[in-house]
């Protein structure tokens, strides 16, 4: 399993626009992708419902995980989205 630990920089947290962009990006990848708060239960990164329920706020860390062909690239893309104040 490959992981990226990243701090949420959007001032609204991983909600609204950042959440929608995150899910749209994750959904393009063929493999399973999960997102969790450190030590928390991983949820489906392709589900907007899961992301809203996760409620990651600005300044909080999340861990994004995936496996398989192309996982490095998709995790880099997702981490970049989370790390920008969009």
């Amino acid at each position: 399993m490959i992981e990226r630990k990243v701090t949420v920089e959007s001032k609204v947290g991983l909600h609204a626009r950042p959440a929608a962009l995150f899910v749209q990006t994750a959904a393009k990848a063929p493999m399973e992708i999960t997102v969790a708060k450190p030590g928390g239960i991983p949820v489906n990164a392709k589900s907007i419902l899961s992301l809203l329920a996760l409620d990651a706020r600005r300044g909080e860390q999340i861990v994004i995980s995936a496996d398989g062909e192309g996982a490095e690239q998709i995790l880099d893309d997702l981490a970049a989205l989370v790390a920008e104040d969009a």
């Binding site: 609204v12 609204a16 626009r17 929608a20 589900s47 907007i48 419902l49 809203l52 329920a53």
Partner: protein
């Protein structure tokens, strides 16, 4: 199948009537929107279920079967109000029935502050083809039939 009720009284305008591309372009998901009457009122649960998220400006109710989550926003950019003018009438984790008041607010005040009080009602993780019987543009009562999610 989930029957989704109007969380507020007003006029159905569709997602195209939301002055925010995030909703107007259905980036969050399919659904519709209601331009609420400009008077103090209560926003209610659109379905039976459990409140998984409750913020002053938005909430998510997850249906009993666990996979139909409905997101309701109370106005555009109302997150900036940081809760001022919104009174929570329930709590995250609460089991609620459709029509149960969740937030007291005043769309007229939101509009007076220069923001749109239009309320998007979104089916989360749904494809557009999953929605049917979407209310046609026009007046709708709070608790009126808004759309069906199959």
């Amino acid at each position: 199948m989930t029957r989704v009720l109007a969380p507020v009284r007003g006029r159905v305008v569709g997602l195209a009537g939301v002055p925010d591309p995030l909703f107007a372009q259905a980036m969050v998901g399919p659904g519709t929107a209601i331009d609420p009457v400009r008077e103090p009122g209560e926003a209610v649960a659109p379905i039976d279920g459990r409140i998984v998220k409750l913020r002053p400006h938005c909430y998510v109710v997850l249906g009993a079967e666990g996979h139909h989550g409905i997101l309701v926003y109370l106005g555009v950019d109302t997150v900036e109000l940081k809760g001022t003018g919104f009174e929570l009438l329930a709590a995250e984790g609460d089991r609620v029935v459709a029509g149960q008041p969740l937030i007291r607010w005043n769309p007229a005040e939101v509009a007076a502050g220069g923001r749109s009080p239009v309320c998007p009602v979104i089916a989360l993780d749904a494809g557009i083809e999953a929605l049917s019987d979407v209310a046609v543009p026009g007046d709708i009562e709070c608790g009126g039939a808004l759309f069906t999610w199959t």
